[in-house]
């Protein structure tokens, strides 16, 4: 009869995480507007009322989800880059690779789709997302390209558009995974790893200084 359950205090501490996890999953699946708050609560195993005990509105819940999930991804990338010692070409390949693995592993990458789609109905989210996500990601990639140039591995190129070009397929794959990729549709098969490899390959061909000093 005595079902063992965590003590009250313990529950209180884990609730937010349960709610954020449930919300992440549902927001990514259905979008912000189409996700009902009761669904989130029940997916987290609590009642509607409890959700509102922790977050004053669906909007605040959404912001909390974004905050918790995305910033983390970015900083993890930063650490990997800082610690890397090999060639910049290898660094770039590795960065795309491990980042994709992380993004692929959780639903966090799906938030980009949701933010992208609903940021215009959510003006306060825009600056937050720009500061916390977009700018750091840019800085990360620009830093890598700069490293390649500084070390004489890459041709001198404009950082901003090149960083865009480097990130674009990654973002594209993230978006795809949580949108068309989740529909039972017969489109052109998207193989993320192959796409990233093709992309890295082309990029590096394009970025690198000629490997022989010969051709003039």
């Amino acid at each position: 009869m005595a079902s063992t359950r965590p003590p009250r205090q313990r529950l209180k501490d884990i609730r937010p995480q349960q709610l954020l996890d449930a919300a992440l999953s549902l927001f990514v699946e259905k979008g912000f507007a189409a996700t009902r708050s009761e669904e989130v609560a029940s997916a987290a195993g609590v009642s509607k009322g409890t959700l509102y005990l922790y977050y004053p509105s669906k909007e605040e819940l959404f912001k909390a989800v974004v905050r918790q999930n995305i910033s983390k991804l970015i900083s993890q990338g930063g650490e990997a880059v800082a610690a890397f010692e090999g060639s910049t070409a290898e660094l770039l390949v590795m960065l795309l690779d491990i980042w994709w693995d992380r993004v692929d592993d959780s639903d966090a990458g799906g938030l980009h789709k949701v933010v992208l789609a609903e940021v215009r109905n959510f003006p306060e989210l825009a600056q937050f997302y720009a500061d916390e996500v977009i700018l750091p990601a840019h800085r990360l990639f620009e830093g890598v390209v700069q490293r390649g140039i500084d070390r004489g591995e890459f041709r001198p190129v404009e950082l901003v558009p090149v960083a865009h070009a480097l990130m674009a397929p990654m973002i594209f794959l993230m978006l795809h995974k949580h949108s068309f990729g989740a529909c039972p549709v017969h489109g052109p098969d998207v193989d993320p790893k192959a796409t990233l490899r093709a992309h890295a390959d082309l990029m590096l061909h394009g970025l690198m200084r000629d490997r022989s000093g010969t051709h003039r």
Copy 2:
């Protein structure tokens, strides 16, 4: 005072266009779910009921908007490619360039954002969009790459992932324009033309066979 109105019949002929225009603009701004049908009607200068005279539901209206706007873009690209006579590198640059101009010119590109965001709540849209938009666009880019290979201009590469990589920045820019780009936010400035140029440049470096036998 006597404002002269167009005659009835004339109005009937232009209503669908008025409604589609208003709907395009609002769907792109707010998304499908968040756009109220009455808003569309009133933006088109008619009443709620009139909208339903022309489209039986918000969903059908949306499909009509997609059909009218996107399919057109794709076929225009196809024609430009078919008619082109120069080198494949130039063709690729041109294709990205004119396509961006078209996409940039209307809100049509913004539909991709909306579909991306809401396709999972809209299952019937998925196949339609895959067939009408995604597949044709792929065929277009794969065709161009194949042309380059056939003519000995490009290295032999895998078509599908390369087509993805080629389109990715375009899509990225389209999405950006109608999402963060429309918010009054201070992020890294995205210069579409520069991004596309940087991208094309890198891509071509990566795709092209070594240009001379000379550099050795």
Copy 3:
């Protein structure tokens, strides 16, 4: 090219009948509230606007339908009764028989269902229907019963409730025909003629004076 059509004046004269016929059929099928005025117009081969040229509202159209169809039925019954010469038992059998044939032949009988169902939402219809339909029908049946009593054929009975009892199965059959009878349902089969015969048989057994002085 010159499709021959009736002249204008001619059209004007037949429109009301076309509209009333279409309306009768649709009101009986769907009821008053559920019948859309456009359906009536289009079943009559005219446009919505034309309907309103002849009847100022759906309600007035309905009243016109009732007026035209029901009063006719009653008076026909009256004539048949007045002309009859045989025994009252035969008269009653004949009355039920020919009345059923008339009612069965057109949709007019179905109006009873509609009036029954919607008279409470239509207060002005109530008195009209009582005066034009219910009272005359009662008078008719009461007259027949009185005739039987007067001629010594029937036991002396109370006219009003006996008239009710006589009409009840007829009404029941009319209602059934246009309601459950029109649904693809497997209920107890209702055979109108058999029901009326069984009913007449029982009624006459009950009404008639003992035919012999014998049984005591």
Copy 4:
């Protein structure tokens, strides 16, 4: 001033009954289509939304009303018949009498009017009503007639049409009560008890074997 309200849980338990009562009354008064769900809610003392907490649609609410009210009536009749010990003539009189009292007492009988009127717009209701109401009622009356025949009290007659004829006036009265009978109209006064008595009297005269073997 402080009106003491029942506690929450208690309210939840009584809501369905409050809603069904309100719905019965309004559906019988106005019909299904013409009854607005908000009216039902407010007649039950709750808000629009609360109604939908208990019944997922107006249609389901209606079915629940039918289920609760009519099925009950039928089974009560069945019990009364099973328990009866006297002559079949007396049984028939009693059955009509107590049934009328029950029907007259609540609005339940009025549902027949509503179903009759709207079943054609409500196809799924047809079979439900046939199975739950019409067939059981037939079985009940056919059983009584069979009992009379088996016990040598009644002439051998065809069960189905006779059952129809027996029920017809009852149904007629039920319909009348909730239709014209509820309108402030001066028609022929319908005295239900007298009508049923007249009817039973005629029926029994018709059904019963001649009490003497004499008349030929």
